[in-house]
């Protein structure tokens, strides 16, 4: 089955070999290994990617479901200047320890900041509730996202 979709800003045409999860397509065939697999069951969010701008678990999607849609992975977010503040803030605040959750966290944070420029701590918590972190205890992650939001706001002034 042939599918056409947009991946990190570029149109891609691919032949799917059969039933394949989106995360396997990304990691194993397209070498986009920034997206992580934690649980494979929708619970940890390490596999989060943007589907038409909305965070989804790539472990719970079939590759054939992305035909005609746009996917942005952590590689796409990292290459996008609009999100540079998020990556920097994660580094500065110590929101990254082992780093396994970070790609998913950053993708979720990018989706939040794209639609809400001044998120409250509660809005940040709600937006990141589907992303688990076993290391940081979350407060640094929340701090990072709110710092990134402040910087984006300052720049726009």
């Amino acid at each position: 089955m042939k599918v056409r979709f947009k991946l990190n800003g570029k149109f891609v045409m691919l032949d799917l070999p059969g039933v394949e999860r989106l995360i396997d397509l990304l990691r194993e065939r397209l070498d986009l290994v920034g997206t992580k697999e934690g649980c494979g069951k929708g619970e940890c969010g390490a596999c989060t990617v943007l589907l038409d701008g909305k965070p989804v678990c790539s472990c719970l999607m079939l590759a054939s479901q992305i035909a005609g849609h746009e996917i942005v992975t952590i590689e796409g977010v990292a290459a996008d200047n609009r999100y540079a503040h998020i990556l920097n803030a994660f580094e500065e605040t110590g929101a990254v320890q082992c780093g396994y959750c970070s790609p998913g966290m950053i993708v979720s944070a990018a989706a939040l900041l794209a639609r809400n420029r001044h998120p409250s701590d509660n809005e940040i918590k709600r937006a990141l509730a589907g992303n688990l972190c076993r290391c940081t205890g979350y407060s640094k992650i929340i701090e990072a996202v709110s710092r990134a939001a402040e910087r984006v706001a300052q720049e726009r002034k």
Binding site: M1, G42, C59, L60, S64, Q65, R126, A127, A129, N131
Partner: protein, 282 residues
């Protein structure tokens, strides 16, 4: 796992034609099915019929007397729909507390109903809204009240060649609520949930429906509590009686998510909480 292509129809007609074949597993958002398949990775996967490319099944439409919700409508879409907010606030509340952002962006109402979990969060609201399901096969079309659809946990009267093609709710405006309890706020399946819809005029409850989730093999109505409330003036004492009655109507089991006694008690507490809020706002 790479066995065969999935079937991805773009029209309902194609989907129904495909569904006439045996041993096909339907995928909408995939948030239940892919979890189930994950646990059996090394066996060949069944043939999958993927519905989410059928645009016609993904709409919320307003008619003269009712609202139609397509089975492919996601929790996120329900949460943010002004139509649902107006005619089915319980449903919007349930959709907004379930899962996580990632899950809500994919999980569909059709999948929640077809999956038939007694803890499915959209089901109690659909009970109290008196929802009707439309079930279609290549040759047949039938409608039924949602309460007739479930037989047991994961078991429904859906025939192997049928699909849920629409969910209808009436446009009668009622007040109501959906409250649930999980181990944590996000990503926890409900241990107990309560939905209610009421019609109140000058303090008197003209009509009321209450549904309880996760406390029996299917979602159930709290008929005794409803009977106590109907025709009476909503006040603190009546609320206590109704809460006590609803607690007794729950028939929960002990499982990994909670114990039965706690669940029974929580049914009463959630109902009391919801009704008290309505009383306070009157």
């Amino acid at each position: 796992m790479k066995e065969q292509d999935t079937i991805n129809p773009s029209s309902l007609r194609q989907a129904l034609a495909a569904k006439a074949r045996p041993n096909l597993v339907v995928v909408a958002g995939g948030t239940d099915i892919l979890v189930q398949l994950h646990d059996r990775v090394d066996r060949p996967w069944p043939k999958l019929l993927v519905l989410d490319g059928i645009k016609a099944l993904g709409k919320i439409t307003l008619h003269d007397d009712f609202v139609t919700i397509g089975p492919n409508v996601t929790f996120s879409e329900i949460e943010s729909s002004p139509i649902i907010g107006k005619y089915a606030p319980q449903l919007a509340q349930a959709a907004s507390v379930a899962g996580s952002v990632q899950i809500r962006n994919r999980a569909t109402i059709g999948g929640n109903v077809a999956n038939a979990s007694p803890a499915g969060d959209l089901i109690p609201p659909l009970y109290v809204l008196g929802a009707t399901l439309e079930l279609l096969s290549v040759r047949t079309k039938r409608s039924m009240p949602i309460e007739k659809f479930f037989v047991g946990p994961g078991k429904t009267v859906l025939k192997s060649n049928e699909l849920i093609t629409a969910i209808r709710i009436s446009k009668v405006k009622r007040i109501g609520f959906f409250l649930r309890l999980g181990t944590r706020q996000a990503l926890a399946i409900s241990k107990v949930s309560v939905a209610a819809a009421l019609m109140i005029k000058s303090g008197i409850i003209l009509d009321v429906k209450i549904a309880l989730g996760a406390v029996a093999p299917t979602v159930i109505r709290a008929g005794v509590a409803e009977e106590l409330l109907r025709g009476n003036r909503l006040d603190a004492k009546l609320i206590d009686h109704a809460a006590e009655a609803a607690s007794k109507e729950a028939r929960p089991i002990d499982d990994i998510r909670s114990v039965a006694a706690y669940r029974k008690e929580m049914v009463g507490i959630l109902l009391k909480r919801g009704l008290t809020k309505i009383l306070e706002s009157m």
